[in-house]
């Protein structure tokens, strides 16, 4: 009950503040299993994608979030675990003994896919605070695509959210944002890691360039 009302409030608030407009450019909002991969410039990113999805899709979609940021403190933990149903992964870089014992970060993501969930993934791995439109992708997107070949990957370009709430600011400015869904992609049979990572990144950049004013 509490979870459902918080979900409703957050989705409503995100739409109110940002005008969160979902534009389905390359695919329709159908209830098929997907991995949405998006540019990452603000903590609000996955909330916005999540709010832009129609409610039935929202319930079956889980965001990938860094445990180091989200799994701390009662409120954040409640939000990420109960409200957003996030898949928490360990982003720290372990050394020596720890590195050998550490579990593969792909495992929890693949596990959620096997349970039938769609995912929201930010392949840059961290928030982009540079002047560049998109940071280089980590290889996670390739490993995930290889583990789950049946799932389509949908590029999602979030326009303007970094201006609503830049890194380090806590007061949101109510500018209009849009969430743009591109054409679904899959890992080719013979495609190697670098080619696929570069191909997904260029697809997301091209989607971004096509929706920007001027």
């Amino acid at each position: 009950m509490l979870t459902a009302s918080v979900q409703f409030l957050i989705a409503g608030f995100a739409r109110l503040v940002t005008g969160a407009q979902a534009r389905w450019i390359g695919c329709a909002p159908r209830n098929v299993q997907r991995i949405y991969f998006a540019n990452h410039s603000s903590h609000g990113d996955f909330v916005l994608i999540w709010a832009a999805l129609p409610p039935p899709l929202r319930a079956s979609t889980r965001p990938i979030a860094g445990a180091d940021y989200w799994d701390r403190g009662t409120v954040k933990r409640f939000l990420i675990r109960d409200v957003f149903n996030g898949v928490l992964i360990d982003r720290t870089r372990p050394v020596g003994e720890e590195a050998r014992n550490r579990s593969d970060p792909i495992e929890p993501m693949a596990g959620a896919v096997e349970q039938g969930y769609s995912l929201i993934l930010f392949p840059e791995g961290t928030r982009n605070t540079s002047e560049e439109p998109l940071l280089p992708f980590k290889s996670g997107i390739y490993h995930l695509a290889k583990r789950c070949p049946q799932v389509e990957l949908v590029p999602v370009w979030i326009e303007n959210l970094h201006r609503v709430m830049p890194k380090g600011e806590f007061l949101p400015v109510p500018l209009l944002c849009s969430v743009n869904f591109g054409e679904p992609m899959r890992l080719g049979a013979m495609e190697d890691k670098n080619t696929f990572v570069e191909r997904t990144r260029s697809a997301l950049l091209a989607l971004g360039a096509s929706v920007k004013p001027a």
């Binding site: 005008g19 407009q21 303007n160 201006r163 830049p166 600011e169 007061l171 400015v173 109510p174 500018l175 209009l176 004013p213 001027a214």
Partner: protein
């Protein structure tokens, strides 16, 4: 008509507007059936969604009027907010403008409407041109980002002037004290909105029917000399024929309506130049068929302060 109470006059005007909209809806329906044969048709479908949006906008204004001064203030404060959001979304700002933009939305905008609510003319007429003008670059300079400082500061100030200062002059009409016109100021707003919006519509209609010569091909390719002359002249005539709801006589009402229509036309051109420079066709997509809030209010922005001051200078004590 002058013997009617202001309430009755307002009702008559809304009834008249409704009749015009019924006729427009019928024409749109016939065009869709006869000319487009119920198939998708760019111009006719756009015309019909515009007419539908007009019904909606008239209903909103009517609702605000039911709540009197508070309703009108709330309506235009909301319009300012939505317009400013569209403006700053498209404007080229940087990281260093974040706080200045926040202050614009959540401090300056509410304060401007508060000053109008308490009818403090001496402050609301200079608050944004003087105090916001000085305060915002101070806030921005604190962020320490110097790149493109002048264009950035100018952009935020311009957004506030157009979207907050200018639009707030519509409800500010309620603060004017005109001898023999007490209790009827809402009708000044009706007069302004009817003249400026029908000028837009009439320019569109004249242009579609007789438009041949483009008036500003680089700025607004859809505007024609025929649309401009026909639209502005017929809007002035409409304004003159509405003299009975104003403190003006027939000729005065016509001349003031002419000034309103001319300013409105120029406002449309200026706002169009900004859109073209930023590479967008519309300011937003809030209102189906019209685009965004600013697409509908661009002409009001430019005519409201001029109408306010013309009336204030010649008709108040």
């Amino acid at each position: 008509m002058q013997h009617l109470t202001p309430q009755q006059q307002t009702l008559w005007l809304f009834a008249g507007t409704a009749v015009v909209l019924v006729i427009a809806s019928l024409i749109g329906w016939i065009l869709k059936l006869r000319v487009a044969r119920n198939q998708p048709h760019g111009t006719i479908d756009n015309l019909n969604s515009r007419i539908k949006a007009w019904w909606f906008m008239v209903a909103i204004i009517g609702l605000a009027f039911l709540f009197g001064k508070t309703g009108v203030l709330a309506l235009f404060a909301l319009a300012s907010f939505l317009a400013l959001r569209e403006f700053l979304t498209i404007a080229p700002t940087r990281r260093g403008d974040h706080i200045a933009m926040w202050v614009s939305f959540f401090v300056i905008l509410p304060l401007q409407y508060f000053l109008i609510a308490i009818e403090w003319y001496g402050l609301f007429s200079i608050f944004i041109p003087v105090y916001a003008f000085l305060l915002l670059p101070i806030v921005a300079v604190m962020a320490g980002q110097v790149k493109e400082f002048l264009p950035r500061s100018a952009t935020v100030q311009w957004g506030l002037m157009i979207c907050v200062f200018c639009i707030s002059h519509v409800p500010a009409l309620l603060t004017l004290q005109i001898p023999g016109y007490a209790g009827r100021n809402l009708l000044l707003i009706v007069f302004l909105i009817l003249v400026v919006q029908s000028s837009d519509v009439l320019q569109y209609v004249w242009g579609k029917l007789f438009g041949k010569h483009k008036i500003a091909p680089d700025v607004s390719p859809s505007k024609t000399v025929e649309g401009f002359v026909g639209g502005v002249a017929s809007a002035a005539l409409l304004g003159a024929s509405l003299y009975w709801i104003t403190p003006f006589n027939f000729w005065q009402a016509g001349l003031i309506a002419l000034a309103i229509a001319l300013m409105g036309f120029c406002g449309g051109l200026v706002m169009s130049a900004i859109k073209r420079d930023r590479g967008v066709k519309d300011w937003g997509n809030m209102i189906e068929g019209h685009g965004g809030m600013l697409d509908r209010l661009d002409s009001v922005c430019f005519s409201a302060p001029v109408f306010f001051h013309l009336t204030r200078y010649w008709w108040t004590l």
